[in-house]
């Protein structure tokens, strides 16, 4: 198996059995984000204590790339600070997924990062940080 094939298998595994799928009771913040081009959706709910993401869950509907990436992202950010989450760049996510996606599918891969960072921003704005 090539690296690309292995990474594809990992993504498909996350797609078929997403980690951290669901909603958090009484979340610190909750936000839904759509990709207007294709209708893919993810909703993030976060539990934030003292600036740390103590719990992250998502629900969503979409292709293997958008939903697999969301699942991978939840694993990556749990326990991180809001500051660290805001500093995650697109390149890091794409490198993490490790697939040659092309520009239109890259948007699928980045939908969840966008949603997560918007959630954190919404939380901060609400707290007037």
């Amino acid at each position: 198996m090539s690296d690309e094939e292995i990474n594809m298998e990992i993504l498909l595994d996350h797609y078929r059995s997403p980690r951290n799928y669901g909603k958090i009771d009484n979340p610190s913040v909750q936000l839904v984000e759509y990709n207007p081009v294709c209708g893919d959706a993810v909703q993030f709910s976060l539990k934030i204590d003292n600036g740390i993401l103590t719990d992250v869950k998502f629900i969503g509907r979409g292709c293997s790339v958008s939903q697999g990436a969301a699942s991978i992202l939840t694993e990556k950010v749990k326990g991180k600070s809001t500051e660290e989450v805001m500093n995650i760049g697109a390149e890091e996510i794409l490198k993490n997924i490790g697939l040659n996606l092309g520009p239109s599918r890259e948007k699928c891969a980045l939908l969840s990062l966008n949603a997560l960072q918007k959630s954190v921003k919404k939380y901060r704005d609400g707290k007037n940080e």
């Binding site: 498909l12 059995s17 997403p18 799928y21 669901g22 909603k23 009771d25 839904v32 081009v37 294709c38 209708g39 893919d40 959706a41 909703q43 629900i59 969503g60 509907r61 979409g62 292709c63 293997s64 790339v65 958008s66 939903q67 599918r105 699928c108």
Partner: protein, 427 residues
């Protein structure tokens, strides 16, 4: 008769794409034959100048070519008067023009009737009038993907000022009986607008025979260049309508506080027009005419018949498709899914649910990406028909759409590739 292998030789892009590439996204846009590219090149190389105003030979030649393009295209859709054909950027702009201009005559309580199978370009321009109290109603579809004629009658009433319907659905491929729809609308005293974006490129369309008041279509979906489209309108109506955009060409006189409009069609063509685009589209019309629209239609009917037959015989797990099964009422459009993925409902998505519950369904984006790796270009998504996609109960579909350069082997390759995707995702 039409042989796709011979047709292909007229299209330079297939030389770059190489043998065996199946371009099946013709409902989105089509490729351009050499004669269209040459016509555009010829205009810019030999005639380039602005139209109407130049008192010199070059400009007169350009004006003449622009007019001849208008006459040729108007003739192609069966209009006897070239001035009834307005050049726009595309079918979307044509529909916006007519919705914007006619909309100004609507009052609160007036109704516009469209259908659930419309493209967004025949929905959103009408929604812009909702704040003025105009009501938008939708004709539903039946379970076979046809317009529900009972629903059509139920939604028509004395307040229905405008009926605006698609001729051929860009998702279902349903070919509506435009003549009958036009008759019913007119019996009700409504103006009848036809969205011909998917019909004019693929079958004979005659505005006189259909009896429509307006017909919108795009050049780039019928072998012409991007950036040119048309709106046909009945002259009596066009003459009474206010302009769409203001500026040069569309006026006769301008004073500090008012202007006098130019005649139709210039009244609706503000600014320097896309002359090369019109000439390119005229060349595309000539190219299509060389085969005959009856033959174009017959070729695509054959492809969709083969598609539906292959679907029925295929053993692909959970393959579903949408739209009429009778090729007589069906254009060369095949929207399908491997399994069914419903749109997300955030309210009802259960808390305890630990998975997406999509089972073995494959998302249309994954289908399109996999097909792309096998050199087959299909579209996936809602195809600018989100209300219809949701009406079908799915988040999206994959769509193959044919044209004159597609062959039966493209259809065979498509099914082989779909089967490969289904197997890969079901492992």
């Amino acid at each position: 008769m039409l042989t796709s292998d011979e047709v292909k030789q007229d299209f330079p892009i297939f030389e770059s794409l190489g043998d065996g590439y199946a371009y099946l996204d013709n409902a989105a846009t089509t490729h351009k034959p050499r004669s269209v590219l040459e016509a555009i090149n010829d205009f810019y190389s030999n005639q380039n100048s602005n139209v109407y105003r130049g008192i010199y030979r070059l400009s007169e030649d350009a004006t003449d070519s622009y007019y001849r393009a208008r006459r040729n295209i108007s003739d192609f859709i069966g209009s006897r008067n070239p001035d009834t054909l307005i050049f726009t950027r595309n079918a979307t702009e044509s529909l916006n023009l007519v919705a914007s201009s006619l909309g100004r005559g609507l009052k609160a309580g007036d109704e516009v009737l469209i259908s659930i199978m419309e493209h967004h370009s025949n929905i959103v321009p009408w929604q812009l009038w909702l704040p003025e109290g105009v009501k938008l109603r939708y004709v539903d579809i039946d379970s076979d993907g046809y317009l529900d004629m009972e629903s059509f009658q139920d939604n028509l009433n004395g307040r229905t000022k405008i009926v605006s319907l698609v001729h051929e659905s860009n998702l279902l491929g349903t070919i509506n009986d435009a003549r009958e729809l036009s008759r019913i609308a007119h019996d009700n005293g409504s103006i009848f607008i036809l969205d011909g974006a998917q019909s004019v490129p693929h079958m004979p369309v005659d505005v006189e025979r259909i009896g429509c008041d307006f017909l919108a279509f795009s050049g780039h979906k019928m072998l012409g260049p991007m950036g040119i489209g048309c709106l046909y309108g009945r002259m009596e109506l066009l003459e009474g309508m206010p302009p769409f955009l203001g500026g040069g060409e569309m006026i006769r006189e301008v004073y500090r506080d008012r202007s006098v409009w130019n005649d139709v069609p210039q009244k609706f063509e503000a600014g320097t027009p896309n002359v090369a685009g019109a000439i390119g589209l005229s060349a595309a019309v000539n190219y299509l005419r060389s085969y005959g629209m009856e033959n174009v239609r017959a070729h695509e009917k054959n492809l969709i018949r083969k598609t539906l037959k292959m679907e029925e015989e295929s053993k692909i797990n959970e393959l579903v498709s949408y739209g009429p099964r009778n090729p007589d009422n069906r254009g060369g459009i095949f929207s399908f899914n491997i399994g069914k993925i419903s749109p997300i409902d955030l309210e009802s998505e259960m808390l305890e649910q630990s998975s997406m519950k999509i089972g073995s369904a494959v998302h249309p984006h994954d289908v399109a990406s996999s097909l792309d790796r096998e050199r087959i270009a299909v579209r996936s998504g809602h195809h600018c028909a989100m209300p219809l996609t949701h009406r079908l109960g799915v988040v999206a579909t994959s769509r193959a759409s044919y044209y004159i350069y597609n062959s039966e082997s493209d259809v065979e390759n498509l099914f082989q590739a779909i089967e490969n995707v289904a197997v890969k995702y079901h492992e």
